[in-house]
Symmetry: C2
Subunit: 208 residues, 2 copies
Amino acid sequence: MAAGTTRRRNATERASEIRDAAATIALTRGLAAISLRNLAAHCGVTAPLITHYEPNMEALVASTFASIAENEIAEVERYALAPAEPLAQIRALIEAIADPARDNVGEVWTDAWSLGRRNESLAEAARQSMDSWHALAIRIIRAGQDAGQFAPVNPERAALVLFALVDATSAYQLVNFRTRETRESLVRETLEDMLDISLTTDGEPAAR
Amino acid sequence: MAAGTTRRRNATERASEIRDAAATIALTRGLAAISLRNLAAHCGVTAPLITHYEPNMEALVASTFASIAENEIAEVERYALAPAEPLAQIRALIEAIADPARDNVGEVWTDAWSLGRRNESLAEAARQSMDSWHALAIRIIRAGQDAGQFAPVNPERAALVLFALVDATSAYQLVNFRTRETRESLVRETLEDMLDISLTTDGEPAAR
DNA sequence: ACTCTTATTGAACAGGTGGTAAATAATGGA
DNA sequence: TCCATTATTTACCACCTGTTCAATAAGAGT
């Protein structure tokens, strides 16, 4: 900051700057790195100012996670529901989830489970976002079954299995367990077997 | 500590006392709670003494995790391999894993994935123990297939799926997602479908 | 009884955490 | 132009983190 020049921002603008900083920190250094000082440094401001806007760090961690997670779900949902056919939808869903650009979000999820044990608001946010994920999967699976394209397994359980595999593999990734290809195909092939579908477009009648 | 009485212990004894303290702290307060001061307080000793025995906290976290994980695997393996029949073995395996007494270990695993991102020794230890788990599952699954009792699916993938479900549900537990019964049956029923077996002993010919 | 080794402590360091009270100063409105 | 509001800072607090250095004292060996 330039000497003597104490820039003053209106409250809502500053508040959203801080929330953005929290999200950036969470995605690059983990949920545990969200702290008064890190936020202050990131915004070029002193620590007590952060307190002024966010009097409770635990709550900020929780709301930051919620924002990141809900944001991701909204994006993925938009991408997955774009096609009309359930088979194309579930392919899009898997494709979106597997995108390496989402690795950081996976890290934040793992942080959330670990920290959620001692941060009830965070745990609550995690449960809520998990419900959103499952609702999306169930919706697609049901549609595929109604269209007679997916095997008639229990949709709730299939959705749960799908996301359990996704969640486990994203945790595995943090410690570099197996290769990305192995982790991805674990999800893909299990889902193919479970719903009796093919997630690749090989051998499909070309739609062009 | 009593006035003037500075108890002195031989090095190996003190070293193992510290390692035990680390394990206790990890299991009750998480891997992240392993710190010089927590260890010192737990052993009734000053912080620099801990440094004397464990000059590197990151390494201690990693070795503590490795010890807890390998210990658990050894226990579960002993229990699961006790019966002769593969079907009885996999039932024992699932039963052992589901035991609520192991909840703490599940928490430590989730900590390990989260912290492993920034502690390579810890990540390495996690990979190694995950390999041990998978080896155990593959062994039982292969035996069941050789005996014609399990469906002839890819054993590597089935083992991976099994532990991905176990790992995900133990992460879910930290944030109280769904009920224990739902989490358990997710693992159980998926495994039953995958291997075409029954994990309950209902309707079995009684072996007495 | 003496000496040598070394387990252990006390006291400090630099830096991190969340948080508070009061002073400062920029801004919007009258 | 002055005032009231409030965003922002400065200066603290207590407690946590890992780490270093030198002094202390317990125990083992002779």
